[in-house]
């Protein structure tokens, strides 16, 4: 099996898993059947995805399949890595979580089938987003992620869950429609100038013609794209669906939504951002991202503070972190591309970890209301320790992963001369720190409500969390060389494609060394 076949198999596995589950009648089959198919599927996805990403990082060569339709480039491989790794972790965490839901009678066996079926479909659609080279398919895939997750958001059939699901589907579908306008504008403009207009939907083929594209049209298109896919990414002020959907969904799904799906939308934005820069120069696309990013961070920081629902707090924190990534793109320049990509990775790990932990809380306390969650340290000590680490990590403390990318962001902001904005953002992040440390003080510590039994959640739920926390600390202390190499080659790809300073020997050797030399050249 060569790499291009592997690519197709990678996409086929979760798709066929979900189709297979669709064919099995839920009344007859035991839930074990669905669980087994699910575990098999996510394990295969992890193995195949890992192999492919490794080959791209090692050889630096892009893998393509079915002609120009699917492509795994260095940029995409970062996101594929996130999908397969976090998909696997949250997938494993789903097993004890859904079992617990069955015990408490929240879900029945058709719901279990629905859960695992859409979980796999969801993984498939995200893979499609990051592997698609055809911009129209990319848009379709983003829409498909909405459709595949809306039934997961509404899984519990409660009033609030259904409301959240409706809000999610209407806001995202209408928002992403703007993305379609933008996509079509790019396509139409490319079809005008390209020698073979039939290839105008393939991003890799458009890029060489960037200099001939019409700057006015691309500007308009980029605004549409930033708004459209920004809705899906949860940027302010199009974020309104996010806190509802992410908090009502089952916790493993919240983790996957916040950790990975938002990043997939970011990937689409980065792809068009790169194209726009090569057409209209860096100023315009950067300004758009800067405004959206700064507004998101500042707004979401306060929103995180005032929420009293643990999952809504985490959901708003996702808005804030997507804002940080957008802001990094707004600062512009090679360091920030690297910082933005690193932040995608770090935040994906940390946030999916935190949503899994919020799942522990929900299992233990049966509520998400922080006013009622007290004394986790007394009732579930392991969860409490993990939560404390998680909240500190999410606040950007060393030695945890997000500290690294936040420092790089500050650095980049100061480098581009936006020192005052950096200070404002740093203060906004202080509000987030206050919000999260208060949760630790008020809910994790202290006395447990009366009558709560001591005892942690099942070990099967704790194992993926321990794995994730180990990765978060590991990445915070010593970023492993393959990750650095992956981020480097993705950064190189973005920088070269956008043509900002393609002659710069940006990343000779390693990330920081490269950044160093790029700074010294300026």
């Amino acid at each position: 099996m060569d790499t291009s076949q592997t690519l197709l198999v990678l996409m086929a596995v979760p798709l066929s898993a979900s189709l297979l589950m669709a064919l099995i009648p839920s009344r007859r089959a035991s839930i074990r059947v669905f669980e087994s198919i699910h575990v098999l599927s996510i394990t295969l996805v992890l193995a195949l995805g890992g192999m492919l990403v490794a080959s791209v990082v090692v050889t630096g060569e892009t893998v393509s399949a079915v002609g120009l339709w699917f492509r795994l480039d260095p940029l995409g491989s970062i996101f594929v890595a996130l999908i397969v790794v976090i998909g696997f972790m949250t997938g494993i965490f789903s097993l004890p979580y859904i079992r617990h839901d069955i015990e408490t009678g929240v879900v029945d066996s058709p719901k279990v089938k629905q859960y695992y079926l859409f979980f796999n479909l969801f993984v498939f659609t995200m893979l499609l987003v990051s592997l698609s080279n055809n911009i129209i398919v990319m848009w379709v895939a983003i829409e498909a992620t909405t459709l595949s997750t809306v039934f997961l958001v509404g899984l519990y059939n409660t009033k609030t869950a259904l409301e959240a699901a409706w809000k999610y589907v209407t806001v995202c579908a209408s928002g992403v429609a703007f993305g379609l306008y933008g996509t079509l504008l790019v396509y139409a403009d490319a079809a005008n100038v390209m020698a073979d207009p039939n290839q105008a939907a393939f991003l890799s083929e458009i890029i060489p013609y960037a200099s001939q594209l019409d700057p006015k049209i691309i500007m308009i298109a980029f605004v549409f794209i930033a708004i459209g896919f920004g809705t899906k990414a949860g940027l302010f002020p199009m974020h309104t669906w996010l806190p509802d959907a992410h908090s009502e969904a089952p916790s493993p799904i919240s983790g996957l939504l916040s950790g990975v799906l938002l990043k997939c939308a970011i990937l689409v934005i980065i792809r068009f951002y790169t194209l726009s820069i090569s057409v209209v120069g860096p100023t315009f696309p950067q300004t758009v991202m800067l405004i959206l990013g700064a507004a998101s961070v500042i707004f979401a920081a306060f929103a995180v503070f005032v929420q009293d629902d643990i999952k809504r707090k985490l959901a708003y924190s996702s808005c804030e972190n997507v804002g940080v990534i957008a802001l990094a793109l707004g600062f512009g320049g090679p360091i920030v591309i690297a910082a933005a990509l690193l932040h995608c990775i770090m935040h994906a790990l940390t946030k999916s970890y935190m949503f899994c932990l919020s799942g522990n809380i929900v299992m233990k306390y049966g509520t998400r209301d922080l006013g009622k969650i007290k004394g986790v340290i007394k009732t579930a000590p392991a969860t409490a320790v993990l939560l404390t680490i998680g909240f500190l990590a999410l606040s950007g403390f060393p030695p945890f992963a997000m500290f690294v990318s936040e420092v790089m962001l500050f650095l980049a902001g100061v480098a581009t001369g936006d020192i005052w904005l950096v200070i404002v953002i740093a203060l906004a992040l202080t509000v987030v720190i206050a919000a999260f440390t208060l949760v630790v003080i008020r809910s994790v510590l202290g006395d447990a409500p009366e009558g709560m039994k001591r005892g942690d959640v099942p070990l099967a739920a704790l194992v993926p969390e321990f794995l994730l926390v180990a990765v978060i600390i590991w990445f915070g202390i010593a970023l492993p060389a393959p990750v650095v190499a992956g981020v480097e080659s993705a950064t190189r790809q973005v920088v070269q494609a956008s043509g900002i300073d393609s002659d710069q020997t940006l990343l000779s050797g390693s990330l920081f060394a490269g950044l160093q030399s790029s700074i010294m050249d300026e």
Binding site: L511, F512, Q516
Partner: protein, 485 residues
């Protein structure tokens, strides 16, 4: 074994052992925590002393060792010079003394705060002890930033330990205010890296004067935040809600010392420092100094009085460090010696306050009378600590303050504004002395008051801690003077 290699190995051990111990404490049963904590801090102390031995045997040559580099860019490194090698054992050693003291203090017998220590007390205290040599030895600004933030998180966890409304508030204040100040350090790191391509602190020397001023001022802001100077002082009096051994460590040898250490390190690294930095530092110091003295007067709680005393003592250090910008090496050395000396004296004073809480159940000054008759050791410790802080010879505070002022006059000669400022500082020490005499008179002499007469005996581990610190309060200035030369 190469001396540089030996020192960096020991330095890493001094930092890493307490960190690992912190994790181990969290995993093991509660009873094991205290012993692991003591073991880890002892090992860390041994490592720092061994560094001093190697360093001295090498003729005290300053050395920098890079630990973590990505490409040619150093992310973390250790610097061994007279300042860092002197301060690290002091900070770790005081951590050890505080841990030993906590064995008795954190118990059900405590009359003010009966408590069975939960694991997080020893876990965070141990990590804190490891972060201090990390900060002192850090040769890069990123390294400083990492340990700066870790000490912030540890102090947050420890100040909030009793989990009352007051202590939670104190914990949040400490974390948020020092974090706001830390933005200065982030900015300094970014400016340094962008303009020199490295995080190494020695690169500050390569900056042009304007940028150097900005970077140094940004560091100074972060330093003010941690060292509780105006306008950031608010967190320190609130942090009194911490268990007293923690307060002792925060004031004596950790949290507030972080600020002066990073400022001192930047002065060492910067080569010629623009005078603007000196002016800002001197003015900030003298304003805080006068302010904190006036805050002494209404305090009845011994711990709150000590909090303002810490603020003023740190102002002396900032004053000395900033005056050194105007060309006085003596003022700089005096300040470093004062960091060292004040660490012992202030820890001693807090542990006295803690002993009073433990034995009598109060630390309100009006209720405490006649300590000398009932508890002579505590009385002596109280007197020694108060006189050392007030700067009375032959106690350690006198020598370092003397050096600061002598150096100050030397630097200020010919500049009437600076001279006036130094004189104001000098007057403050006299007022401080007078005030502490009054406090001592009330607490030590006369017949024991009701609570003092009913006091329970002082436990052995407290006696050990107090005796060691009394001895150090006499001899530390000699050590500092011999070491700094």
């Amino acid at each position: 074994m190469q001396p540089a290699f030996a020192m960096s190995f020991l330095g890493l051990a001094a930092i890493a052992i307490p960190f690992i111990a912190g994790i181990v404490i969290a995993l093991l049963p509660r009873a094991a925590g205290r012993w692991i904590s003591i073991g880890a801090s002892t090992l860390s102390l041994v490592a720092t002393i061994a560094i001093a031995a190697v360093f001295a045997s090498q003729g005290m040559q300053s050395q920098t060792v890079d630990l973590v580099s990505i490409g040619s860019c150093t992310i973390l490194g250790l610097v061994f010079d007279k300042v860092s090698v002197l301060l690290a054992p002091a900070f770790v050693g005081i951590g050890l003394i505080v841990t030993i003291y906590s064995l008795s203090y954190m118990s059900a017998n405590n009359r003010e705060h009966p408590d069975a220590p939960r694991r997080r007390f020893y876990a965070f205290l141990t990590v804190f002890i490891g972060a201090m040599p990390g900060l002192v030895f850090a040769s890069t600004i990123v390294g400083q930033l990492v340990f700066f933030e870790i000490t912030g998180a540890c102090s947050w966890a420890l100040i909030g330990y009793y989990h009352t409304a007051e202590s939670n508030k104190g914990a949040m204040k400490a974390l948020i205010i020092t974090h706001i100040a830390s933005v200065g350090l982030y900015i300094a790191a970014a400016l340094l890296f962008i303009n020199t391509g490295t995080f190494e602190l020695t690169a500050i020397a390569q900056l042009d004067p304007t940028l150097k001023t900005y970077v140094m001022l940004a560091i100074l802001i972060a330093a003010w935040g941690k060292s509780a100077q105006l306008p950031f002082y608010m967190w320190l009096p609130s942090a009194m809600a911490a268990p007293t051994p923690v307060s002792a460590y925060l004031h004596g040898a950790s949290m507030v010392k972080v600020g002066v250490v990073i400022f001192a390190r930047s002065l060492i690294s910067a080569g010629t420092v623009p005078e603007a930095v000196g002016w800002v530092g001197v003015i900030g110091a003298i304003v805080t100094l006068v302010f904190s003295f006036f805050m002494y007067l209404p305090q009845k709680d011994l711990k709150r009085l000590l909090a303002f005393s810490t603020i003023s003592q740190l102002s002396y250090i900032f004053l000395g460090l900033s005056l050194s910008v105007f060309g006085s090496q003596l003022a700089f050395q005096g300040s470093v010696a004062h960091i060292f000396n004040h660490a012992f004296a202030k820890t001693l004073f807090f542990l006295v306050a803690g002993t009073l809480s433990y034995t009598t159940g109060t630390r309100m000054l009006p209720k405490i009378k006649g300590l000398m008759k009932k508890m002579p050791l505590v009385g002596i410790a109280f007197g020694v600590a108060a006189l050392a802080i007030a700067g009375v010879p032959p106690l350690n505070g006198f020598f370092s303050k003397f050096a600061i002022f002598a150096g100050g006059f030397q630097a200020a000669s010919g500049n009437w504004i600076l001279t006036t400022i130094v004189i104001v500082g000098l007057i403050e020490t006299i007022c401080c002395f007078a005030w502490f005499l009054k406090v001592m008179d009330g607490a030590l002499l006369g017949e024991p008051s009701e609570v003092v007469a009913a006091a329970q005996p002082v436990p052995r581990s407290m006696v050990v801690a107090l005796v060691v610190l009394i001895v150090m309060t006499f001899v530390s200035s000699g050590i500092a003077a011999a070491w700094l030369g």
